[in-house]
């Protein structure tokens, strides 16, 4: 293949995806798509294999490939130019019902040459609980409509009966209609640009470039794997839901130029909606793999080939129908993300060549709180607390994790301003700040998470309700690396201020959880009120630490204490750093303290 033409076509394919993403955001106009970047657009070859993955929620890249293949199987011989298919059944290919795939074949002179696929998290899917995450659903049947593949647009004409049927099953059908329209428009742009490319260079040349692009990615990843040491690295993730503990167990084995992810030993599937299907697990392990191992390699089918997954059926990572899965993207899938990030981090760290690419786990636990109720203008509001996208960076071999720095599987997320949230919902924030001691201790500290508290304000109904599907308050999930501690866990607390008695005038502007009077009830799973004087306190996880905290430069610990990121107590107990009254490091006492802590480790019995 002519390298010049190849270079031009590769660049253009990437831009095709970019322009389609712009279209998706433009037409949808929803906050979750535009602020959270909870979307994905990719191009696929005629057989459904991934050709060019865009930057979005990365666990969708492989699932949408499977969705293409499922559509090819189901509609074989009847796939026409101008068709668009909808698929959102998790047992076929999707992650959960509310992440709808719209898949469109691209024909050139009557021949199928490629596919484009995209998803957004739709406004509602008609599950028991509003917003898509449905913690109260006992099974897939109560998680809203789900289709293993249906033709939504036929030869360029919208099937209005199908469209209306779908919209008949959801809350706020107008918003869902907008989401669907945005995805149709997105696929149209991808198709037009792809055809322009084919028109300019010819179908054979483009096809050759696509094949070469995939071959190149495979060669590059295999070469990289070959440079990494062979071995097996393990990780374990816990998810607690209403007192029940579920595990995701991973043994990742690298041999030669291939990589096996084995989830044997993971918990049996749960009656709670944290489960995920096998396609979701596959997507879950690729989401961190793309940016961690393929940061300079095009994300396509070639990257998928050297990777094998073993996920026993009937477990949380490969559940059987009709297990509920609506919380999968922030449940088992995210745990798979985390476990894969942890084992990849260990593998990179075992290599002199790649050690500086290793990272502890970032933002391991989305809290996905959806608020709903009547707003201060009398209308209805449903929406996510976008702080869930704010995240926290894992520590790296060369630097601390980035405070509130996002996450690996969705590289370009962000959260909304307080003013945006207060304008959209009848709530008032009491505070929103980085959480002290939340970043996992280590030679390099994990990035801090945050804490916030909200209370009703000017709510015509006295407040609103929220859906929370917050596993992980019991277990920290952002694992540390090479001796770094995990980041602190999430926490969700319903403060019953009305039970405190008195007018509590001072508490109206409380600066911290301690200053809020009334019973503090941890909540993690279900639908809860935020009414009257209630407050909701949310704390989100820090990133994992890297290396031994006793080796952290004392001056950095002092700076963290000064910046309210580490408490003086933790500085002494965990980092072995003693500060003087003026906040500076007491060198002598610190050396002594570190010696004592190290000696304390030696006094412990041998492990076995």
């Amino acid at each position: 293949m002519d390298p010049i033409t190849f270079s031009i076509i590769r660049h253009r394919l990437f831009r095709v995806v970019e322009e389609a993403v712009i279209t998706l955001k433009h037409v949808s106009g929803s906050a979750i798509t535009n602020e959270g970047h909870d979307l994905m657009v990719s191009l696929y070859r005629a057989d459904g294999s991934l050709l060019m993955g865009g930057v979005g929620f990365l666990h969708h890249l492989t699932s949408a490939a499977e969705a293409c293949k499922a559509v090819i199987r189901r509609f074989s011989g009847r796939i026409e130019e101008g068709d668009v298919y909808l698929l959102n059944d998790p047992y076929t290919a999707a992650l959960h019902t509310s992440d709808i795939y719209l898949i469109a074949p691209i024909h050139h002179e009557g021949r199928l040459v490629a596919w484009s696929a995209c998803f957004v998290h739709v406004y509602d899917i008609g599950a028991m609980n509003p917003g898509g995450f449905s913690p109260e659903s006992p099974d897939i049947y109560t998680e809203g409509f789900s289709s293993p593949g249906i033709r939504l647009v036929e030869r360029g004409v919208l099937r209005q009966d199908v469209f209306d049927t779908l919209l008949n099953m959801v809350r706020s059908p107008e918003m869902v209609a907008l989401d669907l329209r945005s995805m149709i428009a997105c696929n149209n742009v991808a198709k037009d640009r792809m055809l322009a490319l084919i028109h300019k260079y010819g179908v054979a040349t483009v096809d050759e470039a696509c094949a070469e692009l995939i071959g190149q990615s495979e060669r590059l990843l295999r070469k990289r794997l070959g440079e990494l040491p062979d071995g097996t690295w393990r990780s374990r993730q816990f998810m607690d839901v209403k007192g029940e503990v579920h595990r995701v167990e991973l043994a990742m084995t690298k041999a030669g130029d291939s990589l096996v992810f084995d989830f044997t030993g993971s918990s049996p599937q749960s009656r709670h909606a944290i489960n995920c299907t096998q396609w979701a697990s596959l997507g879950g392990l690729f989401a961190p793999l793309f940016p961690l191992l393929c940061y300079d390699i095009t994300w396509n089918e070639g990257v998928i080939k050297p990777i094998t997954m073993i996920a026993p059926e009937g477990t949380v990572v490969n559940c059987r129908r009709p297990a509920p899965v609506s919380v999968a993207t922030v449940g088992a899938i995210q745990s798979v993300n985390n476990a894969a990030c942890a084992t990849i981090g260990k593998m990179l760290s075992a290599s002199e060549l790649y050690a500086d690419e290793a990272t502890a786990v970032w933002h391991a636990n989305h809290f996905a709180i959806f608020m709903f109720g009547r707003n201060q203008r009398g209308g209805q509001s449903i929406g996510i607390l976008t702080e869930t996208f704010a995240g926290a960076g894992g520590a790296r071999s060369f630097a601390d994790g980035i405070d509130v720095g996002g996450e690996i599987p969705n590289p370009i997320s962000r959260m909304a301003n307080v003013e945006t949230m207060e304008a959209a919902f009848p709530i008032r924030y009491l505070f929103r700040r980085r959480m002290i001691d939340s970043g996992g201790p280590g030679r390099h500290r994990g990035g801090a998470g945050c804490e916030l508290a909200i209370t009703p304000h000017d709510a015509p109904d006295g407040g609103l309700h929220y859906v929370v599907s917050g596993k992980g308050a019991e277990f920290p999930m952002s694992d540390g690396l090479n001796g770094g501690y995990p980041g602190a866990p999430n926490s969700y607390i319903w403060v019953h201020q009305d039970e405190a008695g008195g007018d509590n005038r001072d508490a109206r502007f409380a600066k911290a959880l301690d200053e809020l009077p009334g019973r503090k009830e941890p909540v993690t799973w279900g639908v809860f009120p935020l009414m009257g004087k209630d407050a909701l306190y949310v704390r989100w996880n820090g990133g994992g630490g890297y290396g031994d905290p006793l080796e952290r430069e004392p001056a950095r610990v002092a700076a963290d204490v000064h910046a309210n990121l580490v408490s003086a107590e933790a500085a002494q107990a965990v980092y072995g750093v003693v500060l003087q009254a003026d906040g500076r490091v007491d060198e002598g006492a610190t050396a002594e303290r570190r010696k004592t802590l190290r000696r304390g480790r030696l006094l412990t019995e041998a492990a076995e």
Binding site: D2, P3, I4, S7, I8, R10, H11, F14, R15, E18, E19, I22, H26, S28, G29, A31, N34, E35, L178, R181, S182, A185, Q216, R219, K223, F290, P291, L292, Y295, D296, T359, R377, G379, F389, A390, R396, I402, D403, V404, G405, G406, E407, I408, P411, S413, M415, A416, N417, V418, E419, E422, A423, R428, Y429, R432, R433, R434, R508, F509, A563
Partner: protein, 704 residues
């Protein structure tokens, strides 16, 4: 200024050079170029004035005495931020939200301003170090709510302690004040300023409610901090410039370019450092618009490509858009700024083969000005786009920049052959032309994406080609974009300065408030009335009245459940009546569909007005450019030779005519393949295309 005052002088301070241009009716344009002199940029301005004056056979003082107007653009603020040389700055904000600036809305501050390649590599990303020391951020007890109601009065005693702490313990020289919802109710920010002025009279203060009265506390705080950080520098700079010009004999007003494309009197600009950010590129867009008016083109893609950067601005229907999320360095700010998108692609962009795949790549690394391209012979060892242009005959080794630099063709050939051509298994010329195609394709992709972002079709546009490198490529990527024509303006060499003199005085006022549609027109008029009053007062003081001023109303609207806001110009009589408001909403709906696509509007949710903007203009006199009469098409008088250049049709080097721009006369036609050398750039006319010089001495290549 006396009766003899007849010159308009424009002086543009760039990162490397300071350009001065002198315009006078009926006279040729005079140019003065001097090196910029950071951090004392005013010296460079005077140097370049001196050069221009000498070119006119005048002393600098003589020139300035005869100057009626001095317009100015400067990178002084950009430079203060890029070099982190601003004031030690503190921030006062609402208690409980002290981290807002540091958190940068989560990952937003981590990935903003990064290229796609770097975004895909998150482990190696980080935030920019904040311009405020985190230890110099203090919360104050106060709270205002979403409708501007005071929920908690400002605690002045503790606020005063916080101020004293920042000044005495942290040694801050400037204070940014940014409180929640202050753009609806600035009462607490103003109280804090009064406190600061009492406690520490010398400290530079910026209030968020004044510098960025818009919703969104993170962007507002960031803007406030930038302004406080660079405020003293811009103020001192403009004061010193004014006094130096005054000492040199100038008696007229000094006008300063703003990022939104308007001029402000220096005294006002001095207090709005953030306004000067990226004012150079803004001037470029303004200049393109003015040239477009002269040529009756209202839809323009303005491209500027120099040594390191490719910049694009889009003008549609004679109007330009504002950047939605502007960045300076990697800091967000919320101030009106003409949208100009830039990528790292220029003559200095390094050409390399991927070490694994041998696939060629252009940029994003750049050899910059030093060591520069291999052919400059200043120690550059990596082949660049400029080297490629030389190898395929587009650039003339002997006549580069008017012959001021002699290019080392054999060094370029040796390096390119070794690093690119041989590994590709091609001849030097074939490989070089391949690289040329890649560069043109990447630019095509960029411009296409930018127009898609705005819902535009490049086929409706003309393309302006500015800068030292752009015209080498613009006919090629212009053809691929299917633009109607490519124009290399006569004023290309003094483009930014040309923009300066074609700008008006512009004051931007905004008021944020949420009004539903429909609302009574009085509700809208009541919001505009105080802005109108302020604007008229200011313009009158500046000497504008009658038909020399204009007030334009515009309003940001959105569909209630969607996030996209569209700035919609009020085209009806103001103050508004009911029918004017209806027309506004109709315009909004049409604009929305055009920008975001058919079916993108969710009308059932209702429409809201969110931001009320008043643009107040004092209209300036423009230098006139007289069209020349057209001569014959025969351009042989300007033909200075023939040399081999790469021909795409023949896929080989083939002889082409070479022309001297300065000898072309209006009406001349140049048939491709040909190369036209100008004193500052080179214009490539590809096979089968024809260029002509129009009556304004622009080179026009028709494509459509």
């Amino acid at each position: 200024m006396g009766e003899r005052a007849r010159y308009i002088v424009a002086s543009d301070v760039g990162g490397t050079c300071t350009d001065t241009v002198v315009f006078a009716a009926g006279e040729p344009i005079h140019l003065g170029k001097a090196l910029s002199t950071p951090p004392h940029f005013a010296d460079g301005v005077l140097d370049s004035l001196d050069v221009a004056a000498r070119a006119m056979g005048l002393a600098c003082t003589a020139l300035l005495v005869e100057t009626a107007l001095f317009v100015h653009g400067s990178t002084v603020v950009d430079n203060a931020i890029l070099t982190r040389s601003g004031a030690r700055t503190g921030l006062l904000t609402t208690e409980g939200f002290e981290d807002t600036l540091l958190i940068t809305r989560g990952a937003y501050g981590r990935w903003s301003g990064l290229s796609e390649d770097r975004i895909k590599h998150p482990v190696k990303t980080d935030r920019a170090t904040p311009l405020v020391d985190p230890a110099a951020i203090k919360g104050v007890a106060e709270r205002v709510d979403y409708k501007g109601a005071v929920l908690r009065e400002l605690e002045e005693t503790s606020a005063e302690e916080a101020i004293r702490f920042l000044i005495e313990e942290r040694g801050v020289e400037a204070l940014a004040v940014s409180l929640l919802w202050s753009f609806y109710n600035p009462v607490h920010e103003r109280k804090l300023r009064a406190l600061i002025e009492r406690v520490a009279p010398g400290v530079y203060v910026t209030l968020s409610s004044e510098v960025a009265p818009v919703p969104g506390e993170y962007e507002r705080s960031s803007t406030t901090v930038i302004n406080a950080y660079a405020g003293a520098i811009s103020r001192d700079y403009l004061q010193s410039l004014e006094s130096k010009l005054g000492a040199a004999g100038y008696r007229g007003p000094v006008m300063v370019m703003q990022g939104y494309g308007g001029l402000l009197p220096a005294r006002e600009a001095a207090n709005l450092a953030v306004g000067m950010i990226e004012s150079g590129p803004a001037a470029g867009v303004i200049g393109a618009r003015y040239l477009g008016r002269l040529m009756r083109d209202a839809d323009i893609i303005a491209c500027d490509m120099g040594g390191t950067t490719f910049k694009v601005g889009v003008i549609q229907g004679g109007a330009f858009g504002y950047a939605r999320e502007p960045l300076v360095d990697r800091y967000h700010y919320a101030a009106p700024k003409i949208e100009v998108v830039s990528i790292g692609a220029g003559g200095g962009s390094i050409v390399a083969l991927d070490p694994e795949t041998k696939v060629p790549r252009v940029g994003p690394q750049s050899a910059g000005a030093s060591p520069g391209p291999v052919c400059y012979g200043r120690g550059g060892t990596e082949p660049t786009l400029t080297d490629v242009m030389t190898l395929i005959g587009y650039m003339d080794a002997d006549h580069f920049l008017d012959g001021s630099i002699k290019l080392d063709l054999s060094a370029a050939r040796r390096v390119f052959d070794e690093k690119i051509a041989r590994p590709l298994g091609r001849s030097v010329e074939a490989a070089a032309f391949g690289i040329y195609r890649i560069a043109a394709a990447q630019i095509t992709d960029l411009i296409h994406e930018i127009t898609v972002e705005r819902g535009l079709d490049p086929r409706d546009f003309v393309l302006h080609s500015f800068g030292g490198t752009c015209a080498l490529l613009s006919a090629t990527f212009g053809r691929e974009l299917n633009v109607r024509k490519v124009i290399v303006p006569y004023t290309a060499s003094v483009h930014c300065a040309f923009g300066l003199v074609s700008a008006d005085i512009v004051h931007e006022y905004t008021h944020a408030a949420v009004l539903p549609v429909p609302s009574p027109p009085e509700a809208v008029n009541d919001l505009f009335a105080p802005m109108v009053e302020r604007a008229l007062g200011t313009l009158h003081r500046e000497g504008f009245a009658g038909d020399r001023l204009s007030l334009d109303w515009s309003i940001d609207l959105r569909y209630s459940r969607q996030v996209h806001e569209v700035t919609t110009t009020v085209r009806a009589e103001t103050p508004l009546d009911a029918s004017g408001l209806v027309r506004l909403v109709d315009d909004f709906e049409a604009l929305y569909e055009r920008k975001y696509g058919a079916g993108s509007a969710y009308r059932e949710a209702g429409i809201e007005m969110t931001l009320f903007r008043l643009t107040a203009r004092g209209l300036m006199a423009r230098p006139t450019i007289e069209p020349a009469s057209l001569n014959s098409p025969d351009s042989s008088g300007a033909r200075i030779g023939r040399r081999a250049v790469y021909s795409e049709a023949k896929d080989a080097m083939a002889p082409a005519d070479i022309y001297d721009f300065t000898r072309l006369v209006p009406g001349n036609l140049v048939a491709g393949p040909a190369v036209i050398h100008t004193p500052i750039t080179t214009i490539v006319v590809p096979d089968a295309q024809t260029a002509r010089m129009d009556a304004l001495r622009n080179i026009v290549i028709e494509l459509g």
